[in-house]
Amino acid sequence: MTLPSPEDAPTPVERDEPLLSVRDLGVTFTTGRGRVRAVDQLSFEVRRGRTLGIVGESGSGKSVTSLAILGLHTGADVTGSVRLHGQELVGLDERGLNRLRGRRMAMIFQDPLSSLHPYYTVGEQIAEHHRVHFGSRRAAARRRAVEMLAEVGIPEPSRRAGAYPHQFSGGMRQRVMIAMALACEPELLIADEPTTALDVTVQAQILDLIVRLQQDRGLAVVMITHDLGVVARVAHDVLVMYGGRAAEQAPVDALFATPAHPYTRGLLDSLPRLDDADDEPLRAIPGSPPSLLAPAPGCAFAPRCPRATAATADERLRCETQRPPLGGPAGHPAACHFPSYEGAPS
């Protein structure tokens, strides 16, 4: 694979330095019904060659976080710090962001059809990317597009480069998106529910592809998903979000073996599983995910939390009035007044 030498070659990252470092990220939207704090006090890091899974339900702030990293929120108030290679992205102007987006960091979305231009062939769209960032010539960019299509497993890549997005199936379109995202050799890939719209057999193909490309290229990957099965398959580290905040952070094995936050434990307990032994009723979490319009003063999960319900009146008051900080062991913090680091669920 030949690459035109980019004029701004990435500086090699120190071994222990995270590629992406997010500190105290806050995102606030002003809506007709008031200000919504969609993400609050969020911090995490991703190193090269690692995959961070961000898990959450609707309204947890996981997608808002990914868009904030890329600086794609217009009209939102973004505070805190997002550093890529040590370079601060929050407050960076469009020109500076454009130089990084697609080049150093790239994103793939849930619905590839709405992220691809229907009017241009996929080859043209991938090639354009390359020409913008590397100023490469038409023919070279086109060659690069074909190489990328081949790398993501599209059969007959040179012919398929001339096809339009609607001529591909959903899984093949997501491959095209991945080819486009990786055409300029970014170091960070953000994947926002990349397989949610796909069938399960196709999902398996796309997850395998993302894992392979990550290993080949040493990418840092942020995988945003609602599916704990997807996290278990691809992630090294996990961040569980609830109500716009981090509920728990841990290496993947620790998270599934000893979920410290009652929300994480509740999620794992409530999942119907293929490898379940029997058919007892599922242990459902009562209630619904919280509204961000009227956040509770205390822990966002308290109204649904079995530990808060079972606690003494004083303890419950603490859950309902004091927001728990992210605390506990450095490698496995949880935002809970009464975290439990013992034993796996069920």
Partner: protein, 368 residues
């Protein structure tokens, strides 16, 4: 109608009996060709039983459900309900039967009228059937309680309810006329993970209390395993495997069922790493059926010859490309039927209950 005064299903006929059902849609530039979304589907559902209908997008599972309740007109084939052929009844003749067969939809909010109160929405099927308004409302409030909603919220509008609560409204509406069969089309897939389990538990409780039969249509194999007695796996308009849940999940006989089960990500990192997956090539969408391997459209009226799964099948032989395998009808009493020339006979490749990944006996056979 209470369960007591209902005619019970006799031994001669199951509650629902579907035979050779097909549903074609016009396709092609001038609509002259046809796509067979459902292509010769047969199954039975017994009183009080849950049959799961699973498959990927475009396999025809939803079309099957909609054709059974006659939201769509079948092209050929028959649907017998309680021994009576209902596939050719007029909509007017169907109306009395609508009491007994109801449907629950995927997206609770888009299936509820935003301009009606939830009590009115739940009462609607009763009003259509001619109940006095006061009776219908009283029954609607009872139903709200039954499905775990607060009856005092009866005068609220759907947008005031969360997704899970709105789906409870949809279920209450389906139960208003005292049905014996509920066709549930992806009833939990639009809900948040933490809410899905509530609705699954609710549907199971209602089945026990009311003796309902469910045709449970879903793509999520884990949910289907939880709620169903029997399961039918569809691929491109046909049932490829049908049988008792325990059999199909523990020892899937069709290579497609096997691949499908092995593709589901398990929420367990250690099991995921230890697991052997069968990765299928290609994709299951009907649009790919319409395209030849060279990407040019194949005439929709001419689906691939032989087994429709053969282009993706890891063990396809010459006969699979020439001859379509036949599925015998899966009766409620039978363990399992499969439409494959070379069905699998070994135990499952998926993780079975109670076996830690390291403790499994013989490793599953490696596959091409």
């Amino acid at each position: 109608m209470t369960p007591a005064n209902r005619p019970t299903t006799t031994d001669q006929h199951p509650l629902l009996s579907v035979r050779d059902l097909t549903k074609s849609f016009p396709a092609g530039r001038r609509g002259t060709a046809a796509v067979r979304a459902v292509d010769g589907v047969s199954f039975d559902v017994a009183e009080g039983e849950t049959l799961g209908l699973v498959g990927e997008s475009g396999c025809g599972k939803s079309t099957t459900g909609r054709t059974i309740v006659r939201l769509l007109e079948p092209t050929t084939g028959t649907v017998h309900y309680d021994g009576r052929d209902i596939s050719h009844l007029s909509q007017r003749e169907l109306r009395p039967l609508r009491r007994e067969i109801q449907m629950v939809f995927q997206d609770p909010h888009s299936s509820l009228n935003p301009r009606q109160t939830v009590a009115r929405i739940i009462a609607d099927p009763l009003l259509v059937q001619g109940s006095p308004a006061a009776d219908a409302r009283r029954r609607a409030l009872e139903l709200m309680e039954l499905v775990g909603l607060i009856p005092e919220h009866g005068d609220r509008y759907p947008h005031e309810f969360s997704g899970g609560q709105a789906q409870r409204v949809g279920i209450a509406r389906a139960l208003a006329t005292g049905p014996r069969l509920v066709v549930a089309d992806e009833p939990v897939s639009a809900l948040d993970v933490s809410v899905q389990a509530q609705i699954v538990n609710l549907m199971e409780r209602l089945q026990r209390e009311l003796g309902l039969a469910y045709l449970f249509i879903a793509h999520d194999l884990s949910v289907v395993k939880r709620v169903c007695d029997r399961v039918a796996v569809m691929y491109l308009g046909r049932i490829v495997e049908i049988g008792a849940k325990e059999r199909v999940y523990a020892a899937p006989a069709h290579p497609y069922t096997r691949a499908l089960l092995s593709a589901v990500p398990l929420p367990d990192p250690a099991a995921e790493r230890a697991r052997e997956r069968i990765t299928l090539l290609g994709d299951p969408s009907p649009s790919s059926q319409l395209r030849s391997s060279r990407g040019s459209p194949r005439r929709p009226a001419a689906p691939p010859p032989g087994c429709t799964f053969h282009p993706r099948c890891p063990k396809a032989q010459d006969i699979c490309r020439a001859e379509a395998p036949v599925l015998r009808i899966g009766m409620p009493g039978e363990a399992r039927e499969v439409a494959c020339h070379f069905p699998e006979t070994e135990a499952a490749v998926t993780v079975t209950p109670g076996t830690s990944p390291g403790a499994r006996g013989t490793p599953p056979r490696a596959r091409r």
